[in-house]
Symmetry: C2
Amino acid sequence: MPFKPCDKCSVSEMALCNALGCDDLKRLSELAFEQSAQKGETIINEADPASYLFNVTSGALKLYKLLPDGRRQITGFLFPGDFMGIAMNDCYAYSAEVVENCTLCRFSRPKLEKLMRDVPDLEHRLLNMVSNELVLAQEQMLLLGRKTAQEKVASFIKTLYERSLRRNPLATSVPLPMSRSDIGDYLGLTTETVSRTFSALKKNGVISIPDAGFVQINDPDELEDLSSGC
Amino acid sequence: MPFKPCDKCSVSEMALCNALGCDDLKRLSELAFEQSAQKGETIINEADPASYLFNVTSGALKLYKLLPDGRRQITGFLFPGDFMGIAMNDCYAYSAEVVENCTLCRFSRPKLEKLMRDVPDLEHRLLNMVSNELVLAQEQMLLLGRKTAQEKVASFIKTLYERSLRRNPLATSVPLPMSRSDIGDYLGLTTETVSRTFSALKKNGVISIPDAGFVQINDPDELEDLSSGC
DNA sequence: CGCACAATTGAAAGTTATCAAACGTTGTGG
DNA sequence: CCACAACGTTTGATAACTTTCAATTGTGCG
């Protein structure tokens, strides 16, 4: 096992720090400020100056944008290894709120940019992460624009399930820390429609809800089919 | 006016080539292969190996993803200065088809990656472009998930109008090279709903259609209001 | 000029949203 | 430890918006 000088971060293999040599990792870790936050806390506000870039090390967050009348679109849920803080015109493009008590690695953006000039690997890594994020955003556009309520909910559960499999290949019970209302705002549906769709999937036997905050996947193949309308 | 060694590209101030010194620009231009394509041609196919990165120099394209049953989501329209070819797992994440006869600057991905190792400014520039793209994708998620048909169409026209203003600050007539069906697949609507909404906006006097393929903006402020439901 | 295709308009149907009420869960204070 | 309040979830009935299906009109091109 290679020596890991960044003692602040237990998810470095999937984070910004990945693919850096020991020296560079050390320089990056010197910039990092560890921060923890409680459920409900707002970490960044849309349109505020984008002073920091964050890396999630534990817990979960939601990113969202608002319309003037309060309608909300959640653009993503963040889990350990994910980053946030991408900006346009030096302002955040979304707000971020904690869904599940979390810890974050915070980097000053100017300092990080300075380090990136010295360590091209770091910029390369960030480019990869942002590119992946963009591909996922396009997948989400397909969901929002063209899928039915059932396909949306099935896709959402499937994505969480696959993420969970990557961390624990034997798991069948998937954590579901966000509310129905959050899920609705992520999928472009109302709370009620999300709830009804969960009920329908339970009735079909595709999923069960053993405990609040978890989904159990009984029929992964059927879930897959439902998620793209096969 | 600075010397521009990349004679292939008339939009370099907004493209990949921007912010490069003369030497680096020369090295980049040596990698570029100029290519032109006719309306209807498919330039890249979703899930094909991502061998190239493209920069649009003239014309227009659409990027799209398909569901198994043929439902289509257009994830973006590309105009001069835009790039395409971002990938995940070394495969394209979308297909690209020409909307209006276009010219492209094509870069071999491995060669470009090699050059990026030598020229960090280039990678920096690409990171900026991808980051902006991500912000726009999140804005589109808000549109797809939470806006009404009228808000969607008004937002779409407004975005085209603003892009057109940037190129020609006095223009009130905006080119609209894509079909109603393309617009529908971009906004998560049917052709019929798009057409009906255009008719309603004409009736209100917000827009006119002087010639096929163009929209004239009569009331930019009202358009702005309609686009976010004020 | 006429054919093929795109755009528009109309009528009916369907999916999802809205409004409303009941049920569960969680956390707190008596 | 229980009771209650507050909040989130579920379920039902109705309404609205958008889609679907169908027909007509308009446009571009051979």
